[in-house]
């Protein structure tokens, strides 16, 4: 009987090994699946889809560069676990996309995400949300939709995020004042 139990335990361990070897889908706290936005964009038009995993981000973070302006970005990449983005034009009516952006924003808030901002007027919707664990931001989602040109932007950064570094990155893109973004210290 005891021998049988030992063999059963060994079998369980062996059964678990292939699963560990194969890896699994991202399950970081700050990860948000953007599949719904990929399905929304018009494949016949220009689509940009970004999927950077931890290995690639680490490589970007460790890459050498003589440009000091790139240092904050590299430090930001080195601490991220995943970057996902979908940028394109929606194929259906603009109102449907606007509704989806709104619903996604609501769902994230309901599941514990903090909304930094939500700006909405007749033609534009913009939401920025962060996921915080133990007072540390470990996820950021930016949702932007412009109903006039029907362009939608979904961005998700998962991993340790320093908003101060994002503020420093603003200079690189000629966007001043990012160091005063709410949430940055």
């Amino acid at each position: 009987m005891r021998t049988a139990r030992f063999l059963l335990a060994a079998a369980v361990v062996l059964a678990a090994l292939p699963a560990a070897a194969e890896g699994s889908a991202p399950s970081y706290p700050g990860y948000v699946d953007g599949a719904v936005f990929r399905a929304l964009v018009d494949e016949n038009d220009e689509v940009t889809e970004v999927n950077l995993d931890e290995t690639m981000l680490k490589a970007l973070g460790n890459s050498k560069s003589d440009d000091e302006d790139e240092t904050p970005a590299k430090e930001l990449f080195a601490n991220l676990k995943a970057v996902h983005a979908v940028i394109g034009k929606v194929k259906g009516p603009a109102s449907s996309a606007m509704t989806l952006v709104h619903q996604t924003d609501q769902r994230l808030v309901a599941s514990g995400w903090r909304r930094i901002t939500r700006i909405k007027d007749e033609t534009t919707s913009l939401s920025v949300l962060t996921h915080v664990t133990n007072e540390q931001i470990d996820g950021l989602v930016a949702l932007i939709f412009d109903a006039e040109d029907k362009e939608i932007v979904f961005v998700n950064l998962a991993g340790q995020i320093d908003l101060n570094k994002l503020g420093a990155i603003g200079d690189r893109y000629n966007i001043p004042g990012l160091e005063h973004v709410p949430g940055a210290h």
Partner: protein, 167 residues
Amino acid sequence: MNACDVGRERVHAHFDETPDAAASDDLRLHLQACPGCRELFDDLAVLRDTLRARPRPELPAHDLEAVWERTVRRPGARWFDGRKRAAAAAVLVTGVSLSTLWLLRGPSAPPGPTAAEMARAEAQADLVLSYTARALSATRKAATRDVVGAKVSPAVRGNMPRDMRRP
């Protein structure tokens, strides 16, 4: 060590190693010269012959059974042997599996992104960061306009840049 001690050692060695053989020439010469060693030799020869002459009774079956019960068949011994075998089997199987897994994963591990992959990833990351920065910039402008400009103080609002004032 005196000569007699050496002789006694030879007598004992003779009975321990070759009890049935005749004494060697050296030993016989010593026994002729040493009465003490000759007496020891004779005593050991008598003891050997007496022990060999005694009958050898068979061990009773129940005594033999009791010995088996107390040694090989005792519960502790059975538990130890069974557990040990099972644990060794589990450790062996797990060890072989982990080694196989390591061997399979080792060669297939990617060597790292190529220069082209790095360039593409850098461009993609750049794009994502630019959109994120613009979203945060809009956040900052909205916060300044709606929170500071509208709720805090008209004096502050008066000092705001023109593009951030509420219409």
